[in-house]
């Protein structure tokens, strides 16, 4: 009966999952000692599904994202992207960082081309795709500008286009809006979700913002404190919204939003220390 359930359950059932994390643990070593960052993590992200990871700072949620991106290796366990074991950075995975990290010496278009250049893709074709994506993100008038001429929100849109130029199947978002002011955050969350849904990507979002997680994703996964373990998973369903999946902005005014918010808040077990 619900649009959201119908949309991702059949896909997940018929297709290979976009991401599968199997029994992953991660320890790292420093002169001060040994840290168990993640422990016994099992997680599956279906094709086209939007999943968010929330948890307190230091719970290893960004680390888990780095494992999926292939820039860290698990101490034990395995990560699969579209059924293939992750051994290093893969072209199937796009990663959006907390800040835009645009290169100030490149124009907007050239910044969006970075991944295509690194991966040795057809430059002419990629340039067209980059320009198309930048237009779609509302940055069409700024192709030949330099990053310092843009506002924070505009820069993050360019970063999104840069992530999508290389046509990843899975997009990892690591607190992608944390550097933006709150109005810009709300506006850009809508745009980003819209673009990513249109492009048919699977998404894993890491955030410390409960509201953002509820608004943007289909499923919220709560990680416990270090060592990070999966504490619970919550499906975000909005039966009160009749016409399909509401946009992130609309979600915030639905009655379900507050219910999810308070139950996730309890799950997180936040208490200020010191």
């Amino acid at each position: 009966m619900n649009a959201v359930v119908e949309r991702f359950i059949p896909m997940a059932a018929t297709k290979i999952p976009s991401i599968e994390v199997r029994d992953v643990a991660l320890r790292y070593f420093t002169p001060e000692g040994e840290t168990q960052a993640l422990d016994r993590i099992n997680l599956t992200v279906g094709a086209g599904e939007f999943v968010s990871l929330i948890g307190q700072s230091g719970c290893g949620k960004s680390t888990l994202l780095s494992l999926m991106a292939g820039i860290l290796e698990p101490s034990s366990g395995e990560v699969f992207v579209r059924g293939e074991r992750v051994k290093g950075p893969s072209q199937r995975v796009g990663y959006m960082l907390q800040q835009d990290y645009l290169f100030e010496w490149r124009t907007i278009l050239d910044n969006a081309m970075l991944g295509a250049e690194i991966q040795g893709r057809d430059l002419k074709q990629s340039r067209e795709r980059a320009a198309h994506l930048l237009h779609k993100c509302g940055m069409g008038d700024f192709l030949n500008h330099y990053p310092r001429q843009l506002s924070g929100g505009m820069r993050q849109r360019v970063a999104l286009a840069r992530t999508l130029v290389t046509e990843p199947e899975v997009v990892l978002l690591d607190e992608p809006f944390s550097a933006l002011d709150s109005q810009t955050r709300l506006a850009i969350a809508d745009e980003v979700v819209e673009v990513l849904r249109e492009e048919g990507k699977s998404v894993v979002l890491v955030t410390h913002d409960i509201a953002e997680a509820i608004a943007m994703t289909d499923r919220v996964v709560v990680l416990s404190r270090r060592p990070g373990r999966i504490k619970s998973e919550h499906r975000m369903l909005f039966p009160s919204c009749s016409n399909g999946r509401p946009s992130p902005f609309e979600v915030r005014s639905l009655p379900e939003f507050n219910t999810y918010f308070s139950s996730l808040w309890d799950e997180l077990d936040v208490h200020v220390e010191g």
Partner: protein, 283 residues
């Protein structure tokens, strides 16, 4: 001449944001700013003039011995004489060329070694104390050895490189290290190899550092060249200075020093120009 960071061609005038007529206050402010710049330039010239006049007066009135100090009005005839009969252009060219060679070599070696150290953290850890000591070492101590090892021409280049190269390596390496690690992480998530990270992130991201190194280098290379020429050369401004002092022609020494000051000023200005052109893109 002052070579401050406050270069006159830096875009200082604020952009107008409105199209309406500038207000009276704004025009008054602009006039004040304009006058201020004018006073600064005039004061600089006045300071230089006062120095020359004082020098001339003290030497002419024998308060200081003109044999030891020469005096400004004697420099111009000496300059003209050297130009016609003493191959001043040739000497200046020799010094300029040697400085350029030393400076290009130490930049290339500096970038190469710094890239190697960036590539291998292990190599950096191993070599770090040696670099620090080599940098602290007074390289001038090597002038006689370089002369024996390299001969009269190459010992001058060798000295220029020896003086400039170690600090260049350290400055450039620091620049490479200060690239935001997240920019590197970004390139790695896109699948960049170490070489690609160096070429596409670290090197272009270090352009401001490279320019700073360039500025520092040109002065150091010149020091190396002059010191090298003191020992070994048969031409160059350093040779003129040593030769002039040996035969007690202080006019020649002073003229050579003034030419040297002009030369270093011009080379510095050239780099400042380059910096202004590049900073539009790399800031």
């Amino acid at each position: 001449m002052t070579l401050s960071a406050n270069v006159p061609w830096a875009p200082a005038a604020p952009k107008r944001t409105t199209l309406q007529e500038p207000s009276v206050e704004y025009r008054a402010w602009r006039a004040r700013e304009h006058r201020r710049r004018y006073y600064i330039m005039a004061s600089r010239l006045a300071l230089l003039g006062a120095f020359m006049l004082l020098w001339e007066f003290l030497a002419k009135s024998h308060i200081v011995n003109p044999m030891l100090t020469s005096y400004p009005s004697a420099l111009w005839p000496t300059f003209v004489d050297l130009l016609h009969n003493g191959d001043l252009v040739g000497h200046t060219w020799t010094t300029f060329k040697a400085t350029l060679v030393g400076f290009v070599l130490s930049m290339l070696i500096g970038i190469g070694v710094a890239a190697g150290l960036w590539w291998s953290g292990f190599a950096y850890k191993v070599l770090d104390p040696f670099l620090v000591i080599a940098n602290a070492m007074p390289k001038i101590a090597f002038v006689p050895i370089f002369y024996i090892w390299l001969g009269s021409e190459y010992s001058v280049y060798g000295m220029a490189v020896a003086i400039a190269v170690f600090v260049t390596i350290m400055v450039i390496y620091d620049g490479f290290q200060s690239i935001d690690p997240n920019k590197i992480k970004l390139a790695r998530t896109l699948g960049a190899s170490r070489g690609q990270v160096l070429r596409m992130v670290v090197l272009p991201g270090s352009v401001p550092t490279l320019i700073a190194a360039l500025k520092m280098n040109i002065g150091l290379a010149l020091v190396g060249v002059i010191v090298g020429e003191f020992q070994s050369a048969s031409s160059g401004l350093g040779f003129l200075i040593v030769n002039g002092s040996q035969i007690f022609k202080l006019n020649v020494v002073m003229t050579a020093i003034v030419v040297l000051a002009l030369l270093s000023g011009l080379m510095y200005l050239a780099i400042a120009r380059l910096e202004a052109a590049l900073s539009k893109r790399y800031s």
